[in-house]
């Protein structure tokens, strides 16, 4: 990644280029004033007037939103209007004014603190995020009490990308009226109302970007809501690249979607399964829409990381896996058991920062140590297995002993359910991520004891080449087609097929058109990727011959450097996909 590029979480797809507009975190200082007795009722009226004013502002917003999107989404503002009338807000605040003889701002602030504390302590992420809606309403009332202009962005005459700590749904609606072409926030999840509104208004958005050094309003910035990237002061090349990418989406998206229900089959009849990588149940929509034939990896860490104070319960796990199983059926969904540890853990797990997290207590190693936590997830997975076609995948397995250890925990979980007479699929498929080089080199031994492999190229490449892929100084060494990587992948696929075990790939490499010839030639059975990439890769598979890909792979195996392989692949890719196919260069090229 280039130095001017920052990675966050995409929450609304699309590409926007515009001028930075920094919105400072709005903090109104609230002072406590003591009132004389005869000031109390006028103060209550002042509060009511501010509420009334807020109500009419919200009605205006609601009308704007309904005009744009129909009634379907205006409920978000409706809920805020209902909050204004709510006794918990109004009644409590009025009581505080009268009882403590304090000003409306102070009383409202007390109510706000109580309410947000309740929301902050909720376990359910979706419900917890509703606290932001309450805060937004209260901030609006505060602004009206202070007689400030609530409009945070007014009259912009050029395309603007807003950067803020947090934005509310109503902020987005207001700004959309002018020239908002994208936004970047520090907090706000995929399931926040802000994200929902942004997707409905087709405004590209990225969240989870905390600090951009030296950024100033007025600088040029690109927001890539497909991949969660933000590019500050892009170079001429980057601007061109993104113009192409944007055009690509606009021109080809519909055409590609039209092939979504066709099989991924080569011209000479080799069938591949193209699946989606997802992290949240909310991602299922885009996976299904893009024509994924199942889920190749469901990263289950989210449940653990969304609540710092407690581990997810078996029922919480179950509810999620059941939804995944049901929605994806008749296709299958591979759930990867928790890949926690490294930097991903919460206080409740009793972990500590490690000097070398990539090589530390993580993945299945961590789960084996936390056996009860592990079995909770496994029991939930087993219970959900009767609602569709779930498969279990263990991450970071380094060899046979670890696999057996993980499987013994699974057997225990099964036995516990049998004792409780709970139904589950006795023959649930069990596989591993092949991402530790020692697992890859013992693929022949492991294949005898699993139902499937999935090559996790992100980590496999990092471990094989001893290159931290996030280290800017080493970026030039991180090469997915280093001859060492291709050889090890070939070994894994060959050994798996000798044992009759299917192999997939679920790293970023799978979505890169440049590597498709190699992946196809290796004989991989399943490719799992970001949903956005599925239609393009499927279209490519449908225009290739397996026989050609095998020959190309054989030739690559005779080349000695990544550079030679790259050049050869580029030449071949251009030959198979001449002008037109990537005329506007695809999103991943």
């Amino acid at each position: 990644m280039k130095k001017n590029t920052y990675k966050g979480t995409p929450i609304s797809p699309g590409i926007g280029t515009g001028k930075v507009l920094l919105l400072e975190k709005q903090t109104l200082s609230v002072y406590r004033l003591t009132l004389q007795d005869d000031q109390i009722e006028p103060e209550v009226r002042r509060l009511q007037e501010a509420l009334e004013k807020t109500r009419s502002q919200l009605h205006v917003l609601k009308d704007q939103l309904s005009a744009k999107l129909g009634e379907g989404h205006s409920y978000i503002i409706d809920v805020q209007i209902m909050m204004l009338d709510d006794n918990l807000l109004l009644g409590n605040t009025v009581d505080t004014i009268r009882r403590d003889k304090v000003n409306a701002e102070w009383a409202l602030n007390e109510t706000a603190t109580k309410l947000t504390n309740v929301f902050d302590s909720m376990k359910d992420t979706y419900l917890r995020e509703r606290g932001a809606d309450v805060e937004d309403v209260i901030n609006r009332v505060q602004a009206n009490l202070a007689q400030l202009n609530v409009h945070r962005v007014t009259e912009m005459d050029e395309d603007v990308i807003v950067l803020a700590y947090q934005l509310s749904p109503s902020d987005i609606v207001e700004m959309h009226e002018s020239s908002l072409v994208g936004f970047v926030t520090e907090i706000g999840g995929k399931t926040s109302h802000t994200a929902i509104i942004a997707r409905s208004l087709e405004t590209p958005a990225v969240t989870g970007i905390s600090e951009i050094n030296g950024i100033k309003s007025g600088q040029t910035i690109i927001v890539d809501g497909y991949e969660g990237l933000v590019i500050l002061e892009p170079t001429a090349t980057q601007i061109r690249e993104y113009e192409n990418k944007k055009r690509y989406y606009e021109e080809h998206a519909n055409q590609l979607i039209s092939i979504k229900d066709k099989p991924a089959i080569t011209k000479d009849g080799r069938k591949l399964t193209i699946q989606a990588n997802i992290e949240l149940p909310e991602d299922l929509d885009s996976a299904i829409r893009s024509g994924a034939q199942g889920i190749g990896i469901y990263r289950s860490e989210f449940l653990y990381l969304s609540n710092p104070d407690a581990l997810p319960t078996e029922d919480e796990h179950f509810a999620v896996y059941r939804v995944v199983a049901e929605r994806v059926y008749p296709h299958s969904a591979i759930i990867r058991t928790a890949d926690l540890g490294a930097e991903k853990f919460t206080p409740v797990m009793g972990m500590h920062n490690e000097p070398n997290p990539a090589l530390g207590l993580r993945g299945v190693r961590f789960c084996i140590k936390k056996r009860e936590m592990f079995k909770t997830q496994l029991r939930a997975l087993l219970r959900a297995s009767t609602f569709g076609r779930l498969k279990i995948m263990f991450p970071m397995v380094s060899g046979l002993n670890e696999l057996r250890e993980a499987k013994s925990a699974l057997e225990e979980a099964k036995e516990e359910l049998r004792v409780m007479k709970v139904d589950f699929n006795e023959n649930i498929a069990v596989g591993i991520m092949v991402e530790v080089p020692s697992a890859a080199m013992t693929a022949d031994l492991l294949a005898g004891e699993v139902d499937f492999f999935s090559i996790g190229t992100n980590d496999l490449i990092q471990y094989l080449l001893a290159v931290d892929r996030n280290n800017d100084h080493l970026a030039y060494l991180y090469d997915p087609i280093h001859p060492g990587v291709i050889r090890i992948m070939k070994y894994v696929v060959d050994k798996a097929h000798e044992a009759g075990v299917k192999v997939g790939i679920c790293g970023e490499m799978a979505s890169d058109p440049q590597y498709l010839l190699i992946l196809l030639g290796l004989g991989l059975d399943e490719l799992s990727m970001n949903p956005v990439s599925i239609p393009l890769i499927k279209q490519m598979v449908r225009s290739l011959r397996y026989k050609d890909a095998r020959e190309i792979l054989e030739h690559c195996l005779t080349l000695s450097t990544a550079q030679e392989i790259n050049e050869y692949l580029l030449e071949k890719t251009n030959q198979f996909f001449p002008s037109g196919f990537f005329a506007s260069r695809g999103p991943m090229l």
């Binding site: 409920y75 978000i76 409706d78 809920v79 209902m82 909050m83 709510d86 006794n87 918990l88 807000l89 309410l115 309740v118 929301f119 909720m122 376990k123 359910d124 979706y126 419900l127 917890r128 509703r130 809606d133 309450v134 109302h193 029922d315 509810a319 939804v323």
Partner: protein, 89 residues
């Protein structure tokens, strides 16, 4: 007075849209509507009250209605919950 225990079965639980439907429905009746979950009691006509119950899928909710139209109110509320708030999951 009517009391009924009911499970929240829709996927997202009593989230914003579902909670607002419930409150709007409760407000149509004269009767007092009270919701309780895990010992926490809320006014069923208060959106914030309903949201702070944090009733996710699978939680048990105790509904109490009290007033002239308590039976109708109870029937309508249970029906809304069992219809999964018409969310078409």
């Amino acid at each position: 007075m009517q009391t009924n225990e009911i499970e929240i079965i829709n996927k997202k639980g009593l989230h914003a849209r579902a909670a607002s439907k419930l409150v709007q429905l409760a407000t149509r009746y004269q009767s007092k509507v009270q919701l309780a979950r895990d010992g926490q009691i809320s006014d069923g006509k208060s959106i914030l009250g309903v949201l702070v119950l944090a009733a996710h899928q699978g939680s048990m909710l105790t509904i109490t209605t009290d007033g002239d139209d308590e039976k109708e109110a109870m029937a309508a509320l249970c029906d809304l919950i069992n219809r999964k708030f018409d969310e078409g999951e």
